[in-house]
Amino acid sequence: MKILMKDIFGIRCIALSDGQKLHDLIIDDLKLGNPVILDFSGIKQFASPFFNLSIGQIMTEISEGEFRRLLSLENLDETGKYVVGQVISNASQYHGDADYKRIVDEILDRQAKGEDEE
Protein backbone atom coordinates (compact mmCIF):
# COMPACT_ATOMS: atom_id res chain seq x y z
CA MET A 1 0.00 0.00 0.00
CA LYS A 2 1.26 3.46 -0.87
CA ILE A 3 -0.30 6.52 0.74
CA LEU A 4 0.14 10.03 -0.60
CA MET A 5 -0.07 11.86 2.72
CA LYS A 6 -1.04 15.18 1.17
CA ASP A 7 -4.26 13.65 -0.17
CA ILE A 8 -5.40 12.84 3.37
CA PHE A 9 -3.78 15.45 5.61
CA GLY A 10 -3.22 18.49 3.38
CA ILE A 11 0.11 20.25 3.93
CA ARG A 12 0.36 19.53 7.68
CA CYS A 13 1.24 16.46 9.69
CA ILE A 14 0.95 17.98 13.15
CA ALA A 15 -2.17 16.94 15.07
CA LEU A 16 -2.62 14.02 17.45
CA SER A 17 -5.97 13.13 15.92
CA ASP A 18 -4.45 12.94 12.42
CA GLY A 19 -1.64 10.76 13.76
CA GLN A 20 -4.21 8.36 15.19
CA LYS A 21 -6.04 8.40 11.85
CA LEU A 22 -2.88 7.38 10.01
CA HIS A 23 -2.17 4.67 12.57
CA ASP A 24 -5.65 3.21 12.13
CA LEU A 25 -5.27 3.31 8.36
CA ILE A 26 -2.10 1.24 8.17
CA ILE A 27 -1.76 -0.88 11.31
CA ASP A 28 -3.76 -3.85 10.00
CA ASP A 29 -1.65 -4.07 6.85
CA LEU A 30 1.55 -3.92 8.87
CA LYS A 31 0.34 -6.61 11.26
CA LEU A 32 -0.43 -8.81 8.25
CA GLY A 33 3.12 -8.29 7.03
CA ASN A 34 2.20 -6.09 4.08
CA PRO A 35 4.65 -3.27 3.19
CA VAL A 36 3.38 0.31 3.55
CA ILE A 37 4.92 3.34 1.87
CA LEU A 38 4.11 6.82 3.18
CA ASP A 39 4.87 9.51 0.62
CA PHE A 40 5.30 12.94 2.25
CA SER A 41 5.61 14.94 -1.00
CA GLY A 42 3.96 18.31 -0.52
CA ILE A 43 3.83 18.12 3.30
CA LYS A 44 5.30 21.36 4.61
CA GLN A 45 4.71 21.37 8.35
CA PHE A 46 5.57 18.64 10.84
CA ALA A 47 5.17 18.25 14.59
CA SER A 48 5.84 15.44 17.05
CA PRO A 49 2.24 14.78 18.24
CA PHE A 50 1.30 13.47 14.78
CA PHE A 51 4.24 11.06 14.69
CA ASN A 52 3.90 9.99 18.32
CA LEU A 53 0.42 8.72 17.63
CA SER A 54 1.22 7.18 14.26
CA ILE A 55 4.78 5.90 14.08
CA GLY A 56 5.43 5.91 17.84
CA GLN A 57 2.30 3.89 18.49
CA ILE A 58 3.09 1.43 15.68
CA MET A 59 6.49 0.83 17.31
CA THR A 60 4.70 -0.52 20.39
CA GLU A 61 2.62 -2.90 18.30
CA ILE A 62 5.05 -4.59 15.91
CA SER A 63 8.67 -5.64 16.36
CA GLU A 64 11.49 -3.27 15.45
CA GLY A 65 12.54 -5.65 12.67
CA GLU A 66 9.06 -5.69 11.14
CA PHE A 67 8.81 -1.92 11.56
CA ARG A 68 12.04 -1.37 9.60
CA ARG A 69 11.21 -3.98 6.97
CA LEU A 70 7.62 -2.99 6.28
CA LEU A 71 7.31 0.76 6.74
CA SER A 72 8.96 3.19 4.32
CA LEU A 73 8.84 6.97 4.58
CA GLU A 74 9.51 8.78 1.32
CA ASN A 75 10.12 12.44 0.45
CA LEU A 76 10.36 13.80 3.98
CA ASP A 77 12.07 17.18 4.01
CA GLU A 78 14.85 18.06 6.47
CA THR A 79 12.43 19.12 9.24
CA GLY A 80 10.27 16.04 8.75
CA LYS A 81 13.32 13.77 9.00
CA TYR A 82 14.44 15.52 12.19
CA VAL A 83 11.03 15.24 13.88
CA VAL A 84 10.61 11.59 12.86
CA GLY A 85 14.15 10.84 14.10
CA GLN A 86 13.37 12.37 17.51
CA VAL A 87 10.08 10.48 17.77
CA ILE A 88 11.67 7.12 16.87
CA SER A 89 14.52 7.67 19.33
CA ASN A 90 12.06 8.64 22.09
CA ALA A 91 9.72 5.74 21.31
CA SER A 92 12.57 3.22 21.35
CA GLN A 93 13.28 4.20 24.98
CA TYR A 94 9.63 3.98 26.01
CA HIS A 95 8.87 1.20 28.45
CA GLY A 96 5.09 1.18 28.53
CA ASP A 97 3.46 1.46 31.94
CA ALA A 98 4.89 4.23 34.09
CA ASP A 99 6.60 3.31 37.34
CA TYR A 100 4.86 5.89 39.52
CA LYS A 101 6.87 5.13 42.64
CA ARG A 102 10.15 5.58 40.78
CA ILE A 103 8.95 8.91 39.32
CA VAL A 104 7.89 10.23 42.75
CA ASP A 105 11.26 9.11 44.18
CA GLU A 106 13.00 10.97 41.36
CA ILE A 107 11.02 14.19 41.87
CA LEU A 108 11.37 14.08 45.67
CA ASP A 109 15.10 13.61 45.24
CA ARG A 110 15.34 16.71 43.03
CA GLN A 111 13.10 18.62 45.40
CA ALA A 112 15.40 17.79 48.33
CA LYS A 113 18.44 18.87 46.34
CA GLY A 114 16.69 22.13 45.47
CA GLU A 115 15.93 22.81 49.15
CA ASP A 116 19.55 22.11 50.10
CA GLU A 117 20.73 24.71 47.59
CA GLU A 118 18.46 27.44 49.03
Binding site: K44, A47, S48, N52, T79, Y100, V104
Partner: protein, 291 residues
Protein backbone atom coordinates in the same frame (compact mmCIF):
# COMPACT_ATOMS: atom_id res chain seq x y z
CA UNK B 1 -20.58 46.87 40.72
CA UNK B 2 -16.95 46.37 41.75
CA UNK B 3 -13.99 47.80 39.88
CA UNK B 4 -10.62 46.17 39.27
CA UNK B 5 -7.92 48.70 38.40
CA UNK B 6 -5.42 47.28 35.92
CA UNK B 7 -1.95 48.61 36.69
CA UNK B 8 0.94 48.93 34.25
CA UNK B 9 1.68 45.34 33.31
CA UNK B 10 5.06 44.54 31.81
CA UNK B 11 6.83 41.23 31.96
CA UNK B 12 8.14 41.23 35.51
CA UNK B 13 7.41 38.53 38.04
CA UNK B 14 5.46 41.09 40.13
CA UNK B 15 3.25 41.76 37.13
CA UNK B 16 2.44 38.08 36.71
CA UNK B 17 1.78 37.72 40.43
CA UNK B 18 -0.63 40.68 40.21
CA UNK B 19 -2.46 38.90 37.39
CA UNK B 20 -2.74 35.69 39.40
CA UNK B 21 -4.16 37.59 42.38
CA UNK B 22 -6.55 39.48 40.08
CA UNK B 23 -7.80 36.12 38.81
CA UNK B 24 -8.64 35.05 42.37
CA UNK B 25 -10.33 38.38 43.11
CA UNK B 26 -12.36 38.40 39.92
CA UNK B 27 -13.61 34.83 40.24
CA UNK B 28 -14.87 35.53 43.76
CA UNK B 29 -17.18 38.30 42.57
CA UNK B 30 -20.91 37.77 42.52
CA UNK B 31 -21.80 41.16 41.08
CA UNK B 32 -20.84 42.90 37.84
CA UNK B 33 -17.18 43.82 37.49
CA UNK B 34 -15.63 46.70 35.59
CA UNK B 35 -12.03 46.67 34.44
CA UNK B 36 -10.50 50.13 34.65
CA UNK B 37 -7.27 51.03 32.84
CA UNK B 38 -6.97 54.43 34.50
CA UNK B 39 -3.57 53.59 36.03
CA UNK B 40 -2.26 51.46 33.19
CA UNK B 41 0.54 53.06 31.20
CA UNK B 42 1.84 49.96 29.45
CA UNK B 43 0.54 46.47 28.89
CA UNK B 44 2.43 43.46 27.60
CA UNK B 45 1.07 41.01 25.02
CA UNK B 46 1.25 38.32 27.73
CA UNK B 47 -1.02 40.42 29.96
CA UNK B 48 -3.42 40.96 27.05
CA UNK B 49 -3.69 37.21 26.44
CA UNK B 50 -4.12 36.56 30.18
CA UNK B 51 -6.77 39.27 30.69
CA UNK B 52 -8.74 38.15 27.65
CA UNK B 53 -8.77 34.58 28.90
CA UNK B 54 -9.64 35.70 32.41
CA UNK B 55 -12.65 37.64 31.17
CA UNK B 56 -13.86 34.52 29.31
CA UNK B 57 -13.30 32.40 32.42
CA UNK B 58 -15.33 34.84 34.53
CA UNK B 59 -18.08 34.92 31.91
CA UNK B 60 -18.24 31.14 32.04
CA UNK B 61 -18.95 31.48 35.75
CA UNK B 62 -21.74 33.97 34.95
CA UNK B 63 -19.75 36.96 36.19
CA UNK B 64 -20.41 39.95 33.94
CA UNK B 65 -17.15 41.74 33.16
CA UNK B 66 -16.94 44.94 31.15
CA UNK B 67 -13.93 46.92 30.05
CA UNK B 68 -14.51 50.62 30.65
CA UNK B 69 -12.94 52.04 27.50
CA UNK B 70 -13.36 55.61 28.83
CA UNK B 71 -10.65 54.77 31.40
CA UNK B 72 -8.06 53.80 28.80
CA UNK B 73 -6.53 57.24 28.81
CA UNK B 74 -2.98 56.30 27.90
CA UNK B 75 -2.71 56.73 24.16
CA UNK B 76 -0.18 53.93 23.68
CA UNK B 77 -2.20 51.44 25.71
CA UNK B 78 -5.33 52.35 23.75
CA UNK B 79 -3.52 51.98 20.43
CA UNK B 80 -2.03 48.66 21.46
CA UNK B 81 -5.38 47.22 22.57
CA UNK B 82 -7.07 48.44 19.42
CA UNK B 83 -4.34 47.33 17.05
CA UNK B 84 -4.01 43.80 18.39
CA UNK B 85 -7.75 43.17 18.26
CA UNK B 86 -8.35 42.94 22.03
CA UNK B 87 -10.61 45.99 21.96
CA UNK B 88 -12.73 44.56 19.21
CA UNK B 89 -13.33 41.41 21.28
CA UNK B 90 -14.39 43.27 24.42
CA UNK B 91 -16.65 46.10 23.38
CA UNK B 92 -14.06 48.61 22.18
CA UNK B 93 -13.31 49.97 18.76
CA UNK B 94 -11.04 48.35 16.24
CA UNK B 95 -8.26 50.53 14.87
CA UNK B 96 -6.92 49.15 11.65
CA UNK B 97 -3.76 47.17 11.96
CA UNK B 98 -0.25 47.69 13.20
CA UNK B 99 2.06 45.17 11.69
CA UNK B 100 4.13 44.99 14.90
CA UNK B 101 1.14 43.46 16.69
CA UNK B 102 0.52 39.75 16.59
CA UNK B 103 -3.23 39.61 17.01
CA UNK B 104 -5.03 38.58 20.18
CA UNK B 105 -6.56 35.19 19.46
CA UNK B 106 -9.03 32.92 21.24
CA UNK B 107 -9.29 29.19 20.53
CA UNK B 108 -12.19 27.69 22.45
CA UNK B 109 -11.48 24.31 20.84
CA UNK B 110 -8.43 22.86 19.13
CA UNK B 111 -8.15 24.19 15.58
CA UNK B 112 -4.79 23.05 14.16
CA UNK B 113 -5.21 24.72 10.78
CA UNK B 114 -6.43 28.00 12.28
CA UNK B 115 -3.51 28.13 14.72
CA UNK B 116 -0.95 27.19 12.08
CA UNK B 117 -2.28 29.83 9.68
CA UNK B 118 -2.06 32.38 12.52
CA UNK B 119 1.53 31.40 13.28
CA UNK B 120 2.54 31.21 9.64
CA UNK B 121 0.89 34.43 8.47
CA UNK B 122 0.63 36.68 11.55
CA UNK B 123 3.65 35.67 13.59
CA UNK B 124 6.73 34.37 11.82
CA UNK B 125 5.46 35.37 8.38
CA UNK B 126 5.18 39.10 8.99
CA UNK B 127 8.66 39.73 7.66
CA UNK B 128 10.59 40.64 10.81
CA UNK B 129 12.75 37.58 10.39
CA UNK B 130 13.75 36.90 6.82
CA UNK B 131 13.97 33.15 6.64
CA UNK B 132 13.29 30.57 3.96
CA UNK B 133 9.83 29.11 3.52
CA UNK B 134 11.09 25.75 4.73
CA UNK B 135 12.58 27.21 7.90
CA UNK B 136 9.42 29.20 8.55
CA UNK B 137 7.50 25.93 8.41
CA UNK B 138 9.99 24.28 10.77
CA UNK B 139 9.59 27.09 13.33
CA UNK B 140 5.79 27.10 13.34
CA UNK B 141 5.82 23.30 13.65
CA UNK B 142 7.74 23.71 16.91
CA UNK B 143 5.34 26.39 18.13
CA UNK B 144 2.42 24.05 17.53
CA UNK B 145 3.85 21.90 20.32
CA UNK B 146 2.84 24.63 22.83
CA UNK B 147 -0.74 24.71 21.59
CA UNK B 148 -1.14 20.96 21.48
CA UNK B 149 0.17 20.71 25.06
CA UNK B 150 -2.33 23.35 26.17
CA UNK B 151 -5.23 21.61 24.50
CA UNK B 152 -4.32 18.07 25.50
CA UNK B 153 -3.01 18.51 29.04
CA UNK B 154 -4.48 21.88 29.96
CA UNK B 155 -8.15 20.90 29.96
CA UNK B 156 -8.90 24.60 29.98
CA UNK B 157 -12.65 25.20 30.30
CA UNK B 158 -12.41 28.26 28.07
CA UNK B 159 -9.69 27.20 25.65
CA UNK B 160 -6.39 28.84 24.78
CA UNK B 161 -5.52 32.53 24.36
CA UNK B 162 -2.60 34.03 22.45
CA UNK B 163 -1.12 37.42 21.76
CA UNK B 164 2.28 38.63 20.62
CA UNK B 165 4.35 41.54 19.52
CA UNK B 166 7.43 42.50 17.59
CA UNK B 167 9.59 44.70 19.82
CA UNK B 168 11.56 46.91 17.46
CA UNK B 169 14.12 48.17 19.99
CA UNK B 170 15.01 44.73 21.26
CA UNK B 171 14.54 43.30 17.77
CA UNK B 172 12.59 40.52 19.42
CA UNK B 173 9.52 38.55 18.40
CA UNK B 174 7.34 37.47 21.33
CA UNK B 175 4.33 35.20 21.53
CA UNK B 176 2.40 34.17 24.64
CA UNK B 177 -0.01 31.26 24.90
CA UNK B 178 -2.25 31.00 27.99
CA UNK B 179 -4.61 28.30 29.20
CA UNK B 180 -6.71 28.15 32.37
CA UNK B 181 -6.61 24.41 32.85
CA UNK B 182 -5.09 22.34 35.63
CA UNK B 183 -1.50 23.48 35.24
CA UNK B 184 1.60 21.33 34.87
CA UNK B 185 2.22 20.57 38.56
CA UNK B 186 -1.42 19.60 39.13
CA UNK B 187 -1.27 17.35 36.07
CA UNK B 188 1.90 15.68 37.35
CA UNK B 189 0.38 15.17 40.81
CA UNK B 190 -2.81 13.76 39.30
CA UNK B 191 -0.71 11.42 37.13
CA UNK B 192 1.18 10.19 40.20
CA UNK B 193 -1.74 10.15 42.64
CA UNK B 194 -1.45 6.40 43.30
CA UNK B 195 1.60 7.30 45.40
CA UNK B 196 0.40 9.37 48.40
CA UNK B 197 3.74 11.17 48.58
CA UNK B 198 2.82 12.97 45.33
CA UNK B 199 0.74 15.45 47.37
CA UNK B 200 3.95 16.81 48.91
CA UNK B 201 5.65 17.62 45.59
CA UNK B 202 6.35 21.29 44.92
CA UNK B 203 5.22 22.94 41.69
CA UNK B 204 8.81 23.64 40.68
CA UNK B 205 9.93 20.03 41.16
CA UNK B 206 6.94 18.81 39.11
CA UNK B 207 7.70 21.29 36.32
CA UNK B 208 11.37 20.30 36.34
CA UNK B 209 10.35 16.68 35.81
CA UNK B 210 7.84 17.58 33.07
CA UNK B 211 10.45 19.58 31.17
CA UNK B 212 12.75 16.61 30.71
CA UNK B 213 12.73 14.90 27.36
CA UNK B 214 10.44 11.87 27.25
CA UNK B 215 8.51 12.70 30.43
CA UNK B 216 4.80 13.12 29.97
CA UNK B 217 1.59 12.82 31.96
CA UNK B 218 -0.31 11.61 28.92
CA UNK B 219 -2.37 8.51 29.50
CA UNK B 220 -2.02 7.47 25.89
CA UNK B 221 0.15 4.36 25.89
CA UNK B 222 2.74 5.78 23.50
CA UNK B 223 5.99 7.67 24.00
CA UNK B 224 5.43 11.42 24.43
CA UNK B 225 7.16 14.36 26.05
CA UNK B 226 9.13 15.79 23.13
CA UNK B 227 7.35 19.12 22.63
CA UNK B 228 8.99 21.32 25.22
CA UNK B 229 12.37 19.73 24.58
CA UNK B 230 12.16 20.55 20.87
CA UNK B 231 11.24 24.14 21.72
CA UNK B 232 13.95 24.48 24.33
CA UNK B 233 16.61 23.29 21.86
CA UNK B 234 15.28 25.78 19.35
CA UNK B 235 15.35 28.87 21.60
CA UNK B 236 18.80 27.91 22.90
CA UNK B 237 20.21 27.86 19.38
CA UNK B 238 18.47 31.10 18.47
CA UNK B 239 19.47 32.95 21.66
CA UNK B 240 15.84 33.46 22.54
CA UNK B 241 14.00 32.43 25.67
CA UNK B 242 11.12 30.26 26.76
CA UNK B 243 9.33 31.25 29.95
CA UNK B 244 6.67 29.31 31.71
CA UNK B 245 4.33 30.07 34.60
CA UNK B 246 2.23 27.17 35.79
CA UNK B 247 0.54 26.70 39.17
CA UNK B 248 3.10 28.33 41.46
CA UNK B 249 6.18 27.44 39.37
CA UNK B 250 8.20 29.70 37.12
CA UNK B 251 10.71 28.38 34.60
CA UNK B 252 13.08 30.24 32.31
CA UNK B 253 14.94 28.43 29.55
CA UNK B 254 17.57 30.21 27.50
CA UNK B 255 21.16 29.87 26.31
CA UNK B 256 22.35 29.95 29.93
CA UNK B 257 20.32 26.90 30.88
CA UNK B 258 17.15 26.30 32.83
CA UNK B 259 16.06 28.13 35.99
CA UNK B 260 13.03 26.89 37.89
CA UNK B 261 11.60 28.25 41.11
CA UNK B 262 8.43 28.45 43.20
CA UNK B 263 6.52 31.72 43.46
CA UNK B 264 4.48 33.04 46.38
CA UNK B 265 1.33 32.98 44.30
CA UNK B 266 0.21 30.90 41.35
CA UNK B 267 -2.81 30.11 39.25
CA UNK B 268 -4.60 27.15 37.79
CA UNK B 269 -3.30 27.06 34.26
CA UNK B 270 -0.17 27.63 32.22
CA UNK B 271 1.41 30.62 30.51
CA UNK B 272 4.13 29.95 27.94
CA UNK B 273 6.00 32.89 26.46
CA UNK B 274 8.55 32.49 23.70
CA UNK B 275 10.88 35.29 22.60
CA UNK B 276 12.96 34.95 19.46
CA UNK B 277 15.78 37.19 18.29
CA UNK B 278 15.04 38.63 14.86
CA UNK B 279 18.50 38.04 13.49
CA UNK B 280 18.62 35.98 10.32
CA UNK B 281 22.15 34.82 11.14
CA UNK B 282 20.68 32.78 14.00
CA UNK B 283 18.30 30.88 11.77
CA UNK B 284 19.58 28.20 9.45
CA UNK B 285 18.56 24.71 8.53
CA UNK B 286 21.54 22.38 8.17
CA UNK B 287 20.97 22.33 4.42
CA UNK B 288 21.13 26.15 4.34
CA UNK B 289 24.59 26.40 5.90
CA UNK B 290 27.16 27.08 3.16
CA UNK B 291 29.67 24.23 3.03
Amino acid sequence: MSVIFIPTLDDSQDDYEWMFRARETLLLQTDKVELSFLFCQRISPAAVAFLGGLIRLAERQHIVVTVNWQTVTDENVLKFLRHNGFANNFGGKSHGWDNHCIPYREDAVEDPNGVMDYLTDNWIGCGWVLVSEQLKNAIVGKMWEIYTNSFEHGLSPVGVFSCGHHFSRKNELALTVVDFGLGIASNVKEFLKSDPRSATLTSSACVEWALQKGNSTSNLKVARGLGLDLLRSFVTINKGSLELYSNSAYALMNKDGVTIKDLDVGFSGTIVQIKLKCDERLYRLKSEVPS
